[in-house]
Symmetry: C2
Subunit: 496 residues, 2 copies
């Protein structure tokens, strides 16, 4: 491919190979002295792509310094980026196009060097802020905690190095109250220690709505944004900046009154989805008891415009946001903004969703009793269809339950070749290595490929005796056809 | 008005005046012998309007016998209907038009005579099935029970009289499992006692989605329907019937696999809305603590297509469905279909929503401390904007809290002149009877009239010192304008 050759040539002639050397960053800044400098803190699923969007701003000219921790993972991402290989597997063609552009323009460099913040006019924070969850074996949420230490540390490295008039944009999902009660005091305190005034610093919050997958770039560049600042000048500054990277003519910005408001908006969004899913979970169990196909019911109800967003039940909720954001909010309500009662309803939703893999497993057990020594093929380990992201994937719990029941499991996923969390290899060819007969096939991720007839033929050639569609990927008609033609038992959740 | 004169003439020349006389029903049937006879059981908010829709079928010719109980309320409705006065106050012009048509065609009669079922080809059940709720003073739901006795009795009167090949259509909201486990056995048993075969009886379920208000008729005639039967022939029969009264070309019917499925669909729909509201309630309290205007946050989030149905928090949930349907479902899950755990999440939603009037009252107390002896005007007592329906209205609880705090309360509602549940008169003219100065005005129902500038001027002429918008009817701009211009405190929920 032309692209790759071009990239490889660029790499050969590039001087970037030692990202931890601050001289190189200085040279990069000098080369880009006409441009405003943006530092992006955190180069994960959001920061790496946000960097690309900024480097290809629709209405501005920026040079980007991506900064991550000197951990094994951090260094690997940095090396990859500096060597012309984008670190995420994705099927969004714009990612490659945008990345190639940055290489051509030489306006994106990655480093572990925290001193680099001193060059930045704008600093974007895209780091994780984790919730420590404690679930029992059944998946029920026992308790949880939020530890702000590493977040505070990260903000401190900014405060110790940043220009006194920098615009700091927090994009991370944080417990509401963080910008006002955590970020601002830390930054001001650092500036004070450096004997600098904190009058000109601008601290703002505008959360991303990044959606990995085919519309990865568009989920930043062509999507609505909500923003705020700790004061008027901060809000104005971030507004001006967002206009340069987002198509705000089509997707207008919304300013909210204060940073608490935007921080709440973000976690509210994700809690709302988690809640809708938990609702579907509870009702799907009822439907199962009543011999009712809930997918059919939901389809009928979704005809109503007011109910079009009703969710389907499935194997579980995964990913980085839906599994924890309600807890961030509830924690903040108890510890950061006030000290009142938790968001009980939203916490309960997380707990219900965390139990979904068990419900799916119990459903399998009830319909196919002897799992011991059975050969099981899991189709999909990613938490979301057509994406290679295994963070908090519900398939992990299902895998554990199956393993413990004595099943012999193989996993397939076209987007993942190694399952980090389980340290196992993942098949990328369904037929390969599975030449023997199979007992149970579980469709565990809604990858579109599992719907196509070629794949289904391949699955059938393995002569399973039981197919269990945990994600409702196969239609009722499809299931009936398979059942009749191949005399095998096919179960979708809710099809009794 | 021409209409009324015409109706009055019809009444004068009508022979209908003693609805409890079965001879008159027989005569009515004879007169309409070319037509199929439909009996509608229950003439409340659904049955009375359903009768009109059937009497004006788009694709069939029916005569309707409306049947209600010989209670004071039942008899009053029946007399009203038979005397050419539609018993519900409504602003849907189609109601009057449809009703006038039935008088012209003489194809609608009302009676308490249960023997009338014997004439019916189709029997539609539109009676209430109540949940007995036990809330504590704060609104929290302590426990609840479902009593099927009167429902069973009603079905028995049908079984004792119906033709052996009648189509029985249950439209009432029932605990899932009712058609299969309650209705069918009762009808079959009655037929057996009458030494009739139960081979030809057809029992079906298709829930209404009636929405009182300007689109009352359309909410039946021009809206999606979900249906099912206890067997194939029942489902086929109700399908044919529904085609004759609903514009199914534009709003296609959906058949579900069994009556459990449609029964679940109905209560699921309303539980889903109740849940969405409960979600907004919990978060609005969080927003209040954080000094955030939740309306603003919700508006920002609703730009996302996947989040467009996010609800606004308000004074509370009222009406007949949202306050109880989740409990019907949870009860059925524990008692009628299975004996498993309740639908905890949905039950909790009902309990949270039941506490909303208290939250609204506490919000008022926190922002306007001394309520004793203050003159309060409640704008709206109906549970829903632009509708005159006080069933389970949340304003009732707010009224109680205010009264107990020593406030002097007046109520205004353009759609209600007497508040049954409280036995008090309701003003229909804001200025009338309120010539003295006022302290607090509470917008307690989202009637559009409260938004119009003429009304607002009238409100302001009462010189209140505090306006509390519990339903988010006034925009932020509106509130600011009022606050500045008139130097009064205006609070929307969430505007701190």
């Amino acid at each position: 491919m032309d692209y790759k050759t071009d990239i490889e040539n660029k790499i050969k002639h590039s001087s970037i190979n030692s990202p931890d050397n601050s001289n190189i960053i200085e040279k990069f800044v000098q080369k880009n002295q006409e441009k405003k400098i943006i530092a992006v803190q955190g180069l994960g699923f959001v920061g790496s792509v946000m960097s690309l969007v900024c480097a290809n701003a629709i209405n501005g000219d920026y040079a980007i310094i991506g900064i991550d921790l000197p951990t094994k993972r951090g260094k690997s991402i940095i090396n990859s980026l500096n060597n012309g290989i984008f670190p995420l597997v994705t099927d969004d063609p714009k990612i490659e196009e945008f990345f190639l552009n940055t290489i051509k323009k030489n306006n994106f460099i990655a480093t572990t060097e925290t001193e680099s913040y001193k060059f930045a006019d704008i600093i974007i924070v895209d780091i994780n802020l984790d919730v420590e969850k404690n679930n029992d074996y059944s998946g029920e949420l026992i308790d949880y905690d939020v530890n702000l230490d590493s977040f505070k540390k990260a903000i401190t490295t900014i405060g110790e190095n940043c220009k006194q008039d920098a615009l700091i944009l927090i994009e991370s999902t944080v417990p509401p109250g963080t910008c006002k009660n955590i970020v601002k005091p830390i930054i001001n305190n650092c500036l004070k220690k450096r004997k600098l005034s904190s009058d000109k610093i601008k601290i703002s919050h505008s959360y991303e709505r990044v959606m990995p997958g085919p519309g990865y770039i568009d989920s930043i560049q062509n999507f609505f944004r909500v923003y705020s600042g700790v004061d008027e000048k901060s809000a104005d500054a971030v507004e001006s900046f967002l206009h340069t990277i987002i198509r705000t003519d089509e997707y207008p910005l919304t300013r909210l009154g204060n940073t608490n408001a935007t921080e709440i908006a973000k976690v509210l969004e994700n809690s709302y989805r988690a809640m809708n899913i938990a609702f579907a979970v509870e009702w799907s169990r009822f439907a199962e008891e009543a011999g009712v196909n809930l997918y059919e019911v939901v389809n009928a109800i979704r005809l109503r415009p007011t109910h079009a967003n009703l969710m389907y039940p499935g194997i579980g909720v995964g990913g980085y946001c839906l599994t924890k954001d309600a807890l961030l909010a509830s924690w903040a309500k108890q510890n950061l903004i006030g000290n009142s009662e938790p968001l009980l309803q939203s916490e309960k939703a997380i707990s219900i969703n965390d139990q979904m893999p068990r419900f799916a497993f119990e459903f399998l057990e009830n319909n196919y009793s002897k799992i011991r020594n059975k050969k099981v093929l899991l189709l999909g380990i990613s938490y979301r269809g057509d994406v290679g992201d295994t963070r908090s994937t519900p398939v992990e719990k299902l895998y554990d339950y199956l393993l413990e029941s004595g099943a012999k499991i193989n996993c397939h996923d076209p987007y993942v070749n190694y399952w980090d969390e389980k340290s196992i290899n993942v098949e990328q060819n369904i037929a390969k290595g599975l030449k023997d007969s199979l007992d149970i096939i579980i469709i565990s991720t809604g990858h579109k490929i599992y719907k196509n007839s070629k794949t289904i033929d391949m699955i059938l050639s393995l002569k399973p005796i039981f197919i269990y569609d945990t994600v409702g990927l196969l239609s009722k008609g499809h299931i009936e056809k398979l059942s009749k033609k191949h005399r095998l038992k096919v179960l979708g959740r809710g099809d009794l």
